[in-house]
Symmetry: C2
Subunit: 145 residues, 2 copies
DNA sequence: CACCTAAATGATAATTATTTTCAATTACAA
DNA sequence: TTGTAATTGAAAATAATTATCATTTAGGTG
């Protein structure tokens, strides 16, 4: 699975960030969720634990986590904008249901060959890649009958 | 190269859309540009040809072109949001410079094998995929010396 | 060539997501 | 316990995109 909130807290601490109750609450939500959540989703889920938390605080923590590569961003989902959240330690990509939005992680993408060829042909020094598959999950296929 | 404005106009006409001077001006810009432009970019470039055009009109035309698969969208470029524009007829993907934003098209991505496997393993019926490489273009590498 | 009408336009306001500002609070090192 | 820099959250600012709606117009019809 992903990281425990303890581990995430230790990352923050190691880099000199303070461990506030707000941050603890957000990390607890993130580490115990199996889903990819939007900032607004997180905001709601944190309410019981820390009512009155500011949405900004969530944005700020997400930014920090992103710096350390602890966040996934979902791009495809046309209409809804920049999506995010929750990780799996390893490099991975997403398979997204265009109907219900369900996201499935997958870890193997062998793109090194393609990357090298592009690098050779274009002179680019490739840093990363973004790969997403979009389709219909099983249950949405049934509904579409 | 891409489509001529004549060709694009004929697509619109075939589907019952009216050929207004605004649309002609926008299509002229799109078909004669080698770059991937944002709606705001297009807005500026259309000014000489049709001053006073509304930005909305551009959004609306882009939407129509998207329906017919005549538009590229750029996702990666973290900070700047949903990017778009200008195509190459064939299915293709993008190589994006993280420093200056230059976008290079490339047409071969053999992902059918991976797609099939994911489909088998997850039950998804895959519709499309999104693939982008991000790195430093040659000239930005030099500057980074 | 008029004339008619549905489609298109653009000014304006509304939405939505994210960021900035800033005064008040607080974590935590000393 | 104390001092201080980091953090927080209310509120306003940015920004991108979309909705409303009165006015204009492309293009088919007679
Ligand atoms: Mn993920
Ligand atoms: Mn392209
Ligand atoms: Zn689904
Ligand atoms: Zn560059």
């Amino acid at each position: 699975m992903g990281f425990t909130d303890k581990k995430l807290l230790s990352v923050l601490k190691k880099h000199g960030y303070k461990l506030t109750p707000q941050r603890r609450a957000v990390l607890k939500v993130l580490s115990s969720s199996q889903e990819h959540l939007t900032p607004a989703d997180i905001f709601e889920k944190v309410q019981p634990e820390y009512p009155g938390i500011g949405l900004v605080t969530i944005y700020r923590l997400l930014q920090i986590l992103t710096e350390f590569g602890l966040i996934c961003e979902i791009h495809a989902n046309d209409n809804s904008r920049r999506y995010l959240i929750r990780r799996q330690p390893e490099h991975h990509h997403h398979l997204i249901c265009s109907s219900c939005g369900t996201v499935v992680d997958f870890t193997d993408c062998d793109l090194s060959g393609l990357g090298k060829r592009l690098s050779r042909e274009t002179g680019f020094e490739i840093e990363t890649h973004l790969l997403e598959f979009v389709g219909l999950c099983r249950s949405c296929q049934k509904e579409a009958t």
